[in-house]
Amino acid sequence: MLNPVVTQISVKAATFLLAAEEAPGAEEGGGGITSSPIWPSSSEMFWGILSFTALYLLVRFVLLPPVQRIRNDRAATIQADKDAASLARSKVASASAEVEDQLAGVRGEAQVVIDEARAEAEAERQRLVGRAEREVNAMRELAATEVSTERAEALASLRPQVADLAVGAASRVTGRSMQSSSVRSKVDEYLANPSNSN
């Protein structure tokens, strides 16, 4: 049902597009109603040239320079920030390497100190152990001496009693008194050196 309508529009549009020829003097007012839609209107071209030329001059000398300037400033700022960041990064890397070197040096020094301390400690230990051993030996010798002395004293203190017992026992066995000093001296001599008897 719409086909005739569409056809009518199409025909009119085609006629319009193909109407390239302009009748002489058909343009009214140098830019008003013209008979051909294709033929350029001089007044429209006048305003187009005027507007374009003005826009070009404005763009070239007034409008574009500030935009370019701010873009260049931004690019320079970004580049400067990137350079600063790069510099800071390299400084951080350098400082990090320096810290690592220092740490390595400190670790070496610490190791030396540890080794020295360990050696000193070992020497001190050896010294203390030696002294302790010496003291122990001295104490042991002292104790042995004391034991020997005590033993000798004990033996010395026991000897008269043993002599008395031996003399008493011999007197009982023999049935006669052996309390003479000669017997007593022989008993003392025996007790003093039992291995030399007989």
Binding site: I9, G31, G32, P37, I38, W39, S51, F52, L63
Partner: protein, 251 residues
């Protein structure tokens, strides 16, 4: 039929003068749009802040400049083309804002759906790239175009003729017609679907088709915004390519 009253076709693109009838400075809707295509980008650039951390309008302004640099100049010409940024940026802005009025209510007419601006811009492009060619290579630019050394001698007259036609006529003609025809076709398409919507709305039972026609109108409006941008981009890009071909003819 269906109450469809398609407007006289001339009324879609030709507008009465507001003043200056008979004078070259006669001002009509197209002239107004051309002036607005000057004023709007100027105001945008002037109003946008210039701060190191961009925001809002400054983002858009710098985005447009970067777009022309990165998507038009660098692919077509490399860094040597950056000195043509003001020209190519102006072309892009002027064409884009001239086109954009196709979808702005009360205007609804792209300035480049009239032949004046596309023709002027195409001729300007021609003058620019030919001038640059002569400036870079002197008379050799014309000689190399008319008598190309990269083809066998027997073919040089024919190829030279084709090259001359291409450089001096076909390129600017194609630039102008591409922009003009695309915008005019888009404008007629929008008018057609607008008229269809009105007609279907007043045609009884056929009103059930209104969502379809109106949906198409909305879609085409969005599409025409894209076309406005695309045509501005293509025009600037081709101008950059032509300038580069003048600077480096061997390419």
């Amino acid at each position: 039929m269906l109450g469809l009253e398609y407007p006289p076709i001339e009324n879609l693109v030709e507008w009465p003068n507001y003043f200056g009838d008979g004078q070259i400075w006669a001002l009509n809707k197209i002239g107004i749009i051309s002036l607005l295509a000057l004023i709007i980008p100027t105001v945008m650039f002037l109003v946008s802040k210039k701060e190191l951390v961009p925001g809002g309008l400054q983002n858009i302004v710098e985005g447009v400049v970067e777009f022309i640099e990165d998507q038009v100049i660098m692919p077509a010409m490399g860094a040597q083309g950056l000195k043509y940024l003001p020209l190519l940026l102006t072309m892009f802005l002027f064409i884009f804002f001239g086109n954009l009025f196709e979808v702005i209510p009360t205007f609804q007419m792209p300035a480049n759906a009239r032949m004046a601006n596309p023709l002027f811009l195409a001729v300007l492009s021609l003058v620019v790239y030919v001038s640059i060619g002569f400036k870079a290579h002197g008379f050799a630019f014309l000689k190399d175009t008319a008598w190309p050394g990269f083809v066998p001698v027997g073919l040089r007259p024919l190829v030279g003729l084709i090259e001359l036609l291409t450089v001096f006529i076909l390129r600017p003609f194609a630039l102008a017609v591409r922009l003009f025809a695309n915008m005019l076709a888009g404008h007629i398409l929008l008018v057609t679907f607008g008229v269809l919507c009105i007609s279907v709305f007043t045609a009884g039972i056929i009103v059930i088709l209104l969502p379809l026609t109106f949906g198409m109108l909305v879609l085409l409006t969005a599409f025409e915004i894209f076309v406005s941008f695309l045509q501005a981009f293509v025009f600037a890009l081709l101008t950059a390519v032509f300038i580069d071909s003048s600077l480096n003819p061997a390419h």
